[in-house]
Symmetry: C2
Subunit: 124 residues, 2 copies
């Protein structure tokens, strides 16, 4: 398992004292916005979003061999997108023998989810 | 108010039959991923994320004059970023006299929030 710190692990990515309170609670400062924008940028690509959805919706860890089979892309391209997701703190991975296996990091996905939640705003 | 359709208004941005069910529910198809990635790409910039947080955390509609005052950026640059957020369906706007006023679109923010929610995954 990777123990690298990612942008979402940085302790000062907090709003109003609690990590990643909804945007409705208080404006982000510049530093928070820089860190969080990296995670959203990682999500801002259709291949990465599909990779994340495959990994997150799987019952257990997902082999890179199965992920590659779902796309008409080269192995290095898939690996690049997986690296971006891992560095953003959205997934983690471990090599076992020939293959690398991936799983989601729900604590960080939840942080982004909470950030975009709009509890005090009624839908238009 | 703008009546333009945005990527998040497209009706087929649905997962498992309901709009924007969590990623944990089912993998996104290619078309869904393309549409949703545009919204996340709009969030993948620190200035846009701060603009959105200012608009979303405000008690009422936010004048572009107040938004511009919060950044050391030119008016056209701020306007460009606001346009990206509006085209992504995250905010809406209306011109009244000299100024344009902005407000959040909570229904679309909630869709993205729900997409990233991880109800069946225990935090690591």
């Amino acid at each position: 398992m990777s123990n690298q710190k990612t942008v979402l692990d940085v302790e000062d990515v907090t709003v109003g004292g609690g990590c990643c309170a909804p945007l409705v609670a208080a404006p982000l400062n510049a530093e928070q916005a820089v860190d969080l924008s990296k995670a959203f940028k990682a999500l801002g690509d259709p291949v990465r979003l599909r990779l994340l959805s495959l990994i997150t919706s799987a019952e257990s860890e997902t082999c890179v061999c199965d992920l590659s089979a779902a796309f008409d892309l080269t192995g290095p391209t898939i690996s690049h997108h997986l690296k971006v997701l891992r560095e953003a703190g959205l997934i983690d991975s471990e090599r076992r023998g020939t293959w690398v296996y991936y799983w989601p990091r729900p604590e960080n996905l939840s942080r982004l989810s909470t950030l975009l939640a709009t509890p005090r705003l009624a839908p238009a």
